[in-house]
């Protein structure tokens, strides 16, 4: 089982999972994204890197279908593709326990019908996976910021997504918590316990982008345009102080500052 999943990950499909051509998104007169081309293959971990407010969140929301493109093409390789979305804020419902919060996607999908035992077991397994096994009955206000964001991650995983879209998911947390959660995210992505195979993450941290992803997509300031598509080939786990990681970080920083 796990061998199959790993094999599927390493082999690159010819048909891209996300295909974006000449994408344009404008809000009234403001152009957020202009002539953007990007493809994401199945199994990739891609980060979108750029200065704050450059339109990278808009791009992510467009991929999620939250914002309609005003021009160009945005296609998902598979119509049945399941998307999980995680925001910078945990956005937990304060009147629900951790368990009930992560059952929300299931409830919404089922409509009126009741969540069954299988989903409860799945929810508990996912909570164990994100390290919240002992907090099923806690309310959001009883959890720390890191635990709230773990809950949000668990909720995103509860939709059993193929692709996870993360909008600066741990940006509001302290650095230590953030590093731990980033590592856990990588291991969830690599594990064969979920069907999750592809991650697109927005970040404004060069370290985060380079240590985590296969490709760093560097975007310009508003309107967002693709400046460079940097491949990071060094093996994981990567540390920020590794020579290889450092040199890629230097490269990315140079690109961001305008000099190639």
């Amino acid at each position: 089982m796990s061998v199959v999943a790993l094999a599927a990950r390493s082999d690159v499909h010819p048909e891209p999972l996300v295909a974006i051509e000449d994408l344009e998104i404008r809000f009234d007169k403001v152009v957020a994204i202009e002539k953007l081309n990007l493809t994401v293959q199945r199994g990739e971990f891609v980060t979108l890197l750029g200065p704050s407010g450059c339109g990278k969140s808009t791009l992510l929301k467009a991929i999620a279908g939250l914002i309609p493109p005003t021009g160009g093409r945005l296609a998902l390789g598979d119509a049945n593709l399941r998307i999980g979305f995680m925001f910078q804020k945990p956005l937990l419902l304060p009147w629900r326990t951790t368990l009930d919060n992560i059952l929300l996607p299931v409830e919404i999908k089922l409509g009126g019908s009741v969540v069954d035992q299988t989903d409860h077991i799945r929810a508990r397994n996912i909570l164990d996976m994100v390290g919240l096994g002992g907090f099923t009955e806690a309310y959001p206000h009883q959890l720390s910021g890191g635990m709230q964001q773990r809950t949000a991650l668990a909720r995103a995983l509860m939709s059993d997504p193929d692709i996870l879209l993360l909008d600066e998911p741990f940006g509001a947390l302290d650095e230590l918590t953030r590093e731990t959660l980033n590592e856990e995210l990588i291991s969830i992505w690599q594990s064969s316990l979920t069907r999750l195979h592809t991650i697109i993450m927005v970040t404004h941290s060069i370290v985060e982008a380079v240590t985590m992803s296969d490709r760093v997509i560097v975007l310009t300031d508003r309107p967002a345009r693709l400046v460079e598509d940097v491949r990071v080939r060094s093996p994981r786990p990567r540390l920020p102080e590794d020579a290889e990681t450092l040199s890629v970080m230097k490269l990315v920083r140079r690109i961001l500052r305008g000099g190639r």
């Binding site: 929301k61 999620a64 279908g65 939250l66 998307i83 979305f85 925001f87 804020k89 956005l91 419902l93 304060p94 009147w95 929300l104 996607p105 409830e107 919404i108 999908k109 409509g111 309310y139 959001p140 206000h141 009883q142 939709s159």
Partner: protein, 247 residues
């Protein structure tokens, strides 16, 4: 619990003692300022009955107004055209003083229960409506985006997000309007009634039975406070997450 109330109770008793002492020392006539003991002596069956009637009228009006306002708020938020068209009317009703409308209510509905209940409804409706509309719209755009990514229908968004999110707003309005309901009922009774606190106040003031008047005023205040605390206790149980990190 008792400890928390000890100081206010002590000060309350002290005030009453000073009042009693002043009345006794100055020999001020009872029709001007009755002593607390004289007021207490006037607590009788008539007063209890009047309080009961007014409290019931107020509660019924409050309940009807709350349900109506809640339903209206949902419709307003769901169908924007309704809000645009009807909100000005709601404001018009709100800005017209209830004292001015009350005589009309008595002409239309008679001197019985309904004129008071409707007066209470009119005075309670608006605060609940405004706050509920505000609360239903209060959930962050990002919360709605979350529901969108989960593929939630409009009805699901209301049931699972907007309505629970609005509860703190609803309850703060209910606390205000619950004491207003007593005002509405009493105003209704002023204009035309055969029973209730408002009626008792009118009659006792006309006869210069100031002790009875005082007793009725205190009863009216107690009715309002009781309403407020009952709603507050319910709020505490329902909106249990408030006071945490909830924005």
């Amino acid at each position: 619990m008792m400890l928390r109330f000890r100081t206010p109770i002590l000060f309350g008793l002290l005030t009453l003692a000073v009042w009693q002492g002043l009345v006794m020392a100055t020999g001020i006539p009872e029709y001007l300022l009755p002593s607390p003991i004289a007021v207490l002596a006037d607590v009788d069956r008539t007063l209890a009955l009047s309080l009961g009637v007014t409290f019931l009228e107020a509660t019924i009006g409050f309940a009807i107004a709350s349900v109506l306002a809640f339903v209206c708020a949902i419709l307003f938020v769901r169908f924007h055209t309704l809000e645009e068209g009807l909100f000005p009317i709601a404001i018009a009703i709100k800005t017209t003083p209830i004292v001015a409308i009350a005589p009309l209510l008595v002409i239309w509905l008679g001197t019985g229960w309904w004129s008071k209940i409707v007066a209470a409804i009119l005075i309670c409706f608006f605060p609940v409506l405004v706050n509920t509309v505000k609360g239903l719209k209060a959930a962050d755009a990002e919360y709605r985006e979350l529901f969108q990514t989960l593929g939630a229908s409009n009805a699901q968004e209301f049931r699972k997000l907007r309505i629970p999110y609005c509860l703190p707003y609803l309850f703060s309005a209910l606390k205000i309007s619950s004491s207003l309901a007593i005002v509405g009922a009493i105003v209704g009774e002023f204009v035309g009634a055969t029973q209730g606190l408002g009626y008792l106040i009118m009659v006792s003031s006309a006869h210069l039975e100031t002790a009875t008047l005082f007793a009725a005023i205190v009863a009216a205040a107690l009715a309002g406070i009781t309403m407020f605390y009952i709603i507050g206790a319910i709020e505490h149980r329902v909106v249990f997450w408030q006071g945490g990190e909830f924005e």
